[in-house]
Subunit: 186 residues, 2 copies
DNA sequence: TAAAAATATGAGTCGCGACTCATCTTGTCA
DNA sequence: TGACAAGATGAGTCGCGACTCATATTTTTA
């Protein structure tokens, strides 16, 4: 992987700027924002954006990949040195909040129909989250019959709701509390 | 309200056809589907669509209004002659399933930024749902501290998740069960 | 039933946004 | 430092989809 020739210095810098700008722009205006705006925000000509990401989809995919990497990293950190009894719930809340970033992007991608990535990153995320879940179940803070797919569905749902519905911080907190309550043992 | 002159017979028929076609098309392909496709499906020229709904947004709004009307109607029916102990949960499930229709439409509308309707229909829905909630709380099947806004947030969340994530029927059922579990008294 | 009014038609306009390419600029390396 | 290749530039192309309007058709009404 990544045996690609090393980029020239300015190219590397521009690529990073574009990614950062794109994340901002798409988070603000949704994935329908124009590539031109990304270029402007990055302080770069539009041709440069297309040199690095031949397609708008490629650009979106790159952002998603980066976001997922961060999510997985965080999960890894929690697995390594979080308190098993609470790490799961911490991560749950973290994921829901992150959805505010991922949400709009996923939205359009889903609408456009095609799949983005050959799932190994998704698998990595699922594995990490699964580890947190099991640890919490062993620690007795999550009901033992809760399955990973259900829990992930809950995260996705709550995240989407938080994004689409523009919930207040307070409402989001209470809703997450209610949802995670469903996962606690009786 | 609606003091509008009576439409000509063919106009009334076409308007209905367009609405039906639009609901189908937007449900299938999301709100990004073209107006031309709606016209084709309705068996009508594109100009006719724009005569009835001067803007694509108007068309979407009309569909939303119709959907909401149905939701409210159903709630009213349940308030009138459902079992208070279970009607709330029935309606919860009904709403989540309906989201499969509403979801994509809401999505784009939210993304486009503007509000759709001066909320009285929303209020009517909230009131009806609130009545079901209170009845269930009196009947002791919903925890007394659950607030209406939280419950609506849960519905929205689960609905969105179900749409965006393309959950299987089974997964959706289990997830709804998990969520509604959070609402049962301990 | 014939004029008048309402409605339907669909080719055409317009703007926008993804993507290209001929040309210019800059980093790299001997 | 010079020359060459990698990269940057941005005006221009292309397609698509929302919306218009002159003309044709249908319903209504007197």
């Amino acid at each position: 992987m990544t045996p690609d020739k090393p980029l020239r210095a300015d190219a590397r810098r521009n690529r990073a700027r574009i990614l950062a700008a794109a994340e901002e722009v798409f988070t603000e205006h949704g994935a329908a924002a124009s590539t031109e705006e990304v270029a402007a925000r990055a302080g770069v000509a539009i041709g440069t954006v297309f040199r690095h990401f031949p397609t708008k989809r490629d650009l979106l995919a790159a952002i998603m990949k980066e976001l997922r990497r961060r999510l997985i990293e965080r999960a890894g950190a929690l697995v390594a040195d979080g308190d098993p009894a609470t790490a799961f719930y911490d991560y749950f809340g973290f994921l829901v909040e992150s959805s505010a970033n991922i949400g709009p992007v996923i939205g359009l991608l889903a609408e456009e129909g095609t799949e983005i990535e050959p799932g190994d990153q998704i698998m990595a995320l699922a594995n990490a989250f699964g580890a947190l879940l099991e640890a919490a179940q062993r620690a007795g803070t999550v009901r033992p019959d809760a399955r990973l797919d259900e829990v992930m569905a809950l995260v996705a749902a709550t995240g989407h709701g938080a994004v689409a519905g523009a919930w207040s911080d307070d409402l989001r907190r209470r809703t997450v509390a209610l949802v995670t309550d469903a996962l606690r043992p009786r």
